[in-house]
């Protein structure tokens, strides 16, 4: 398979994956293109297969053998030879803050990825300091993980990734175990870093409101298959599908529908919070 340079930083074609000891594939025929510099939400309920996709992207899991299958990351096809290269480019923040913290202190943990790559000591020190600064954890450099909140641990995880200077950051339900303040600050941080360094973000989540707010593109996964993909607002308008796969209806659509039911006429093209606020204000003037 020849790989051509393209706008897509990640491409998955005809990807199937079956866990050992399982008869049914966890993923079947996944085709997915992710644009460089975009924010993509992969959304679906627990057990839909969405986390499996991320593990395939950086070779933590290998897809079922299949001639047509290929996974390309930043113009390199994923194989035994390229997997470590690809892991330099793709950083993952996992769900459980405690179970991905390797170092005994914050600074040690940030350095872990650098140590693995044999980065020279002075360079390592500079990068650790800088990464901690970027995530606002400088004053905690010598703190132990058991004295940090979940949100702080996730910041450290992000610092550990930034220190490697990746091109893609995957948030694998990285905010699911955090309180709302922690969640918001992590998302704000990732958004800032994405814009500054032109990173590509893939966020696995079941928070539809997060996708609407931040994502350029949403991929809905159910039962190991991609159900829909596209602009979040357009995708979530399909209320029947949202309900069927057990996701929450975005607040804005729920409100709109309830207003219509209450006899207030809201035009179809009103599909964002901003538009709804403006429209309602107009009505009342």
């Amino acid at each position: 398979m020849k790989v051509m340079a393209s706008n897509n930083i990640i491409s998955l074609k005809h990807v199937y994956f079956t866990y050992p000891n399982s008869k049914r594939p966890a993923l079947s025929d996944i085709n997915l293109d992710i644009k460089r510099g975009s924010w993509t939400s992969i959304i679906g309920h627990n057990g839909s297969g969405k986390s499996t996709i991320t593990r395939l992207i950086n070779g933590l899991l290998l897809p079922d053998e299949n001639q047509n299958t290929y996974i390309v990351v930043d113009n390199q096809e994923l194989s035994d030879d390229t997997v470590w290269n690809i892991r330099d480019k793709v950083g993952i923040v996992f769900q459980n803050p405690d179970n991905q913290f390797v170092g005994a202190t914050v600074a040690d943990d940030v350095a872990f990825g650098l140590e693995n790559r044999g980065i020279e000591h002075n360079e390592m020190k500079t990068r650790v300091v800088k990464a901690l600064e970027e995530v606002g954890m400088t004053e905690y450099a010598t703190a132990e993980p058991s004295n940090l909140s979940g949100g702080q641990k996730q910041r450290v995880a992000i610092a550990g990734i930034l220190a490697i200077r990746p091109k893609v950051i995957i948030l694998d339900e990285a905010t699911a175990m955090l309180d709302p303040n922690g969640r918001e600050s992590i998302l704000r941080l990732v958004k800032h870093m994405k814009e500054r360094d032109n990173l590509t973000v893939i966020s696995i989540t079941h928070d539809v409101n997060e996708s609407i707010e931040l994502a350029d593109n949403v991929v809905v996964v159910n039962d190991g298959k991609i159900l829909a993909t596209g602009d979040p607002i357009k995708v979530f308008e399909n209320q029947a599908m949202i309900n069927e796969i057990g996701l929450e209806e975005p607040f804005i659509f729920e409100l709109k529908n309830k207003l219509i039911k209450a006899g207030i006429n809201i035009p179809l093209e009103i599909d964002t919070e901003e538009k709804l606020v403006n429209y309602l204000c107009q009505l009342n003037s």
Binding site: N99, V102, F112, N116, M124, S146
Partner: protein, 247 residues
């Protein structure tokens, strides 16, 4: 000071304490130990806390030694117990030795972070590589154990509280009942460990861990002039002990 120097000194101290065998040499080693304690500039309470939990054991051992040692002038004898001059000196020596070893280990632990001590231990183990001992793997296991002790402590108390809420009782009841009460604590801890091991090893691989080859280290140990002073201190102590002990 470099933790390696401190660790070596602590181990060395345990060896040379045996050079002391009369009142003068014991006085010298006491003086040197107290100087080391003083040099930490920590409150005496810190050291008292180190000795306190063992004080009963120290007394008990010394007493046993006192009553079971014969020789010298016998002051008192009853059944299998004797109290002799030899026994008294012996008991006092043991008391001093016990206390000093604890004091010096305490100096080590209160002035050095566990992480540094672990680094120093790894360094001491390095020569074992010649015998094909997988020192890298041991180092990895050490660092993970060190990392998870505080986390799992919290986890243990959380599980205990959760089971207490469900009416479990860890502190009362007969032997069988208490032995059975281990399961509601141990099984969740174990299950949690299996999950953590899967998650953590996945995260480590995702972060580019591929064994110890080609790895660099963030944490480096550096010898300093203080380590030289430390060395000198122990050389002087050893020489003095050698001179003043009974030959």
């Amino acid at each position: 000071m470099d933790p390696r120097g401190k660790l070596l000194a602590t181990i060395f101290f345990v060896c040379i304490i045996f050079l002391a065998n009369n009142w003068l040499s014991y006085s010298i080693i006491c003086l040197f130990s107290l100087l080391a304690v003083w040099a930490t500039k920590l409150k005496p309470k810190v050291f008292w806390d180190g000795v306190k939990p063992l004080i009963g054991l120290i007394f008990f051992t010394s007493l046993l030694q006192l009553f079971f040692t014969s020789g010298g002038e016998v002051y008192w004898k009853w059944w299998i117990f004797t109290c002799s001059s030899y026994g008294i000196t012996n008991a006092v020596y043991i008391f001093i030795r016990f206390t000093l070893i604890i004091l010096i280990s305490t100096v080590m632990t209160v002035t050095t972070m566990p992480l540094e001590i672990a680094d120093a231990m790894e360094w001491i183990l390095t020569p074992l590589k010649i015998f094909k001992v997988p020192v890298d793997k041991i180092a990895l296991v050490m660092s993970i154990a060190l990392r998870f002790v505080p986390t799992l402590f919290d986890e243990t108390f959380k599980i205990m509280n959760a089971q207490r809420s469900r009416g479990a009782d860890f502190n009362n009841g007969g032997l069988i009942k208490r032995a059975k009460a281990i399961a509601p604590l141990l099984v969740p801890l174990f299950i949690n460990s299996l999950q953590t091991a899967v998650d953590l090893s996945t995260a480590m691989e995702a972060r580019g861990y591929r064994g110890s080859e080609g790895r660099t280290r963030y944490r480096v140990l550096n010898w300093s002039k203080y380590d030289l002073y430390n060395l000198g201190y122990f050389v002087i102590l050893t020489v003095l002990l050698l001179i003043f002990r009974t030959h």
